[in-house]
């Protein structure tokens, strides 16, 4: 076993997901299968190989710090499920 149900539940918590018992059962088997497949990478010796995170060597893309028009508040709030016309509202956190 590459991954246990307990580990899947922990990862799901990190990803802010909940899984039903049925989902957990199915997902654990599928993830185990997929993670086992990744083992084939172990065959390759990559000790001296640099990692590629981006295919071109880009340096920082700087720009002038200029003031531009931003999204009007009404527009920014339009897609929010709960708002009061001025702010995004969420359950109480303190």
């Amino acid at each position: 076993m590459k991954i246990t149900k307990k580990e899947v539940l922990h990862v799901a918590h990190l990803a802010r997901l909940t899984l039903s018992d049925e989902e957990l059962e199915k997902m654990t088997g599928q993830l185990d299968n997929i993670l086992s497949y990744f083992d084939k990478l172990k065959k390759l010796d990559t000790a001296d190989i640099p990692a590629t995170s981006h295919v071109f060597s880009v340096s920082n893309a700087f720009r002038e710090d200029e003031v531009h028009e931003s999204l009007p508040r009404e527009e920014a709030l339009r897609n929010c499920a709960r708002q009061d016309g001025e702010t995004f509202q969420v359950p109480r956190i303190i």
Binding site: I3, E7, V8, V11, A12, L14, A15, R16, L17, T18, L19, E23, K26, M27, Q30, L31, N33, I34, L35, Y37, F38, K40, L41, K42, L44, T46, I49, P50, A51, T52, S53, H54, V55, F56, V58, A61, R63, L71, E75, A76, R78, N79, C80, A81, R82, F88, V90, P91, I93
Partner: protein, 486 residues
Amino acid sequence: MKPYELSIAQAQAMMDKGEMSAVELTGSCLDRIDEVDQEIHAFITIDREGALAQAEAADRQRKAGTAGKLCGIPLSIKDLLSTKGMRTTCGSKILANYIPPYDATVVARLKKEDAVILGKVTMDEFAMGSTSETCAFGVPRNPWKKGYVAGGSSGGSAASVAAYECFASLGSDTGGSIRQPASLCGVVGLKPTYGRVSRYGLTAFASSLDQVGPICRTVEDCALMMNVISGYDKRDSTAVRQDVPDYTSSLVPGLKGVRVGVPKEYFTAGLDREVEAIVRNSIEVMKGQGAEIVEVSLPHTEYCVAVYYLIAPSEASSNLARYDGVHYGYRNLEADTLLEMYKRSRSEGFGAEVKRRILIGTYALSSGYYDAYYKKASQVRTLILNDFKKAFQSCDLLISPVTPTAAWPMGENTDDPLAVYMSDILTISANLAGVPGMSVPGGFTASGLPVGVQLQGAHFQEEVLLKAGFNLEQGLRLGRGKLDIS
């Protein structure tokens, strides 16, 4: 010939001569959608009034002599590109009601050139899939055989173009999502070099792999679309500052002096015989047009699926963290605490494949596993990139199949995600290496399903692909074939 059957170039010529208006052309596509989309399920959102208004505006521009490069041409857009004021779902319940307040750069560029946007098309949820079957708002059918998949993730884009519902579509390609559905639906699809086209307003899946590109019926139309969407954008820090050529100037007959590489690792076990025969035939056609055929090797091809399915889900797990129900998207309104709100909104909003990839990515990036999975995959990615660099020292482009098989029946392999991932083996390396890739129709199987041929080039060598694709199209003369539409 009905107006919707024309190519972009033909329709432009007719409108320029005053033989047809953009309103007539748009009406023809809208009628076609009414006629066939209940069978094809390509569209999620159809904007009739908006499209006709854009067409009227296009006619005015043409009359005034200020017509843009795509003036009056009706298009569809994959539903993960932001369209101002038009619902953009990403094929997910979590964005079922999301109306973007801005246009993606590529959409703004199409509008600036007076194109007509008919609506938004189906796709795998958040572009994660190879069949478009994970779309929450209808699954596109293959117009050549309706019980078969249209491919994915840009399945609605390819199906809408193949079914003549629009002239071209914008798709996105993270691991083959433009080229694979184009191949399965018998149309042309081009994934540009990473950085050639702006990703601003493209919903992020795997940011180091994603690229927007056109799906069209002809190579020429593809060049016309590339002329409009390519180029630097200050809003995408990975868009490259490099001049955009006139891509139509590469559409010249003859392949003399062009070295075409045949990567031997792409012709191995698992490749369907009919698919192989079609690709081999295309190689012969190009040889007859003067191309020099050389065998090349991409020795790390067998590791591509593992590398891709670590890197793409890792980036996705980070990108999709933004769907927390706070600012936009679905929110569970019954949750009492913030944590519960996050968890319930995400769990109710995302489908199974998206959850699976978020879990793989979160696991691969989590402490204790990062070196063994994400870092290892990024190192092997370097080896894959080096394979391509080496191959392009001895050839100008690579020719291969796009997929190991033609389209398959809907509903297969839904419980075996790894089996579906394996079908991406021939397309994902282009994304890992950032090189351009194109699918051009190569022929049909005995049962009438289309099969594409993949052309891949070195970075920023889209012109070589378009030239080779144009010659292949002219040399094969496939004809229209018969769609499975009543």
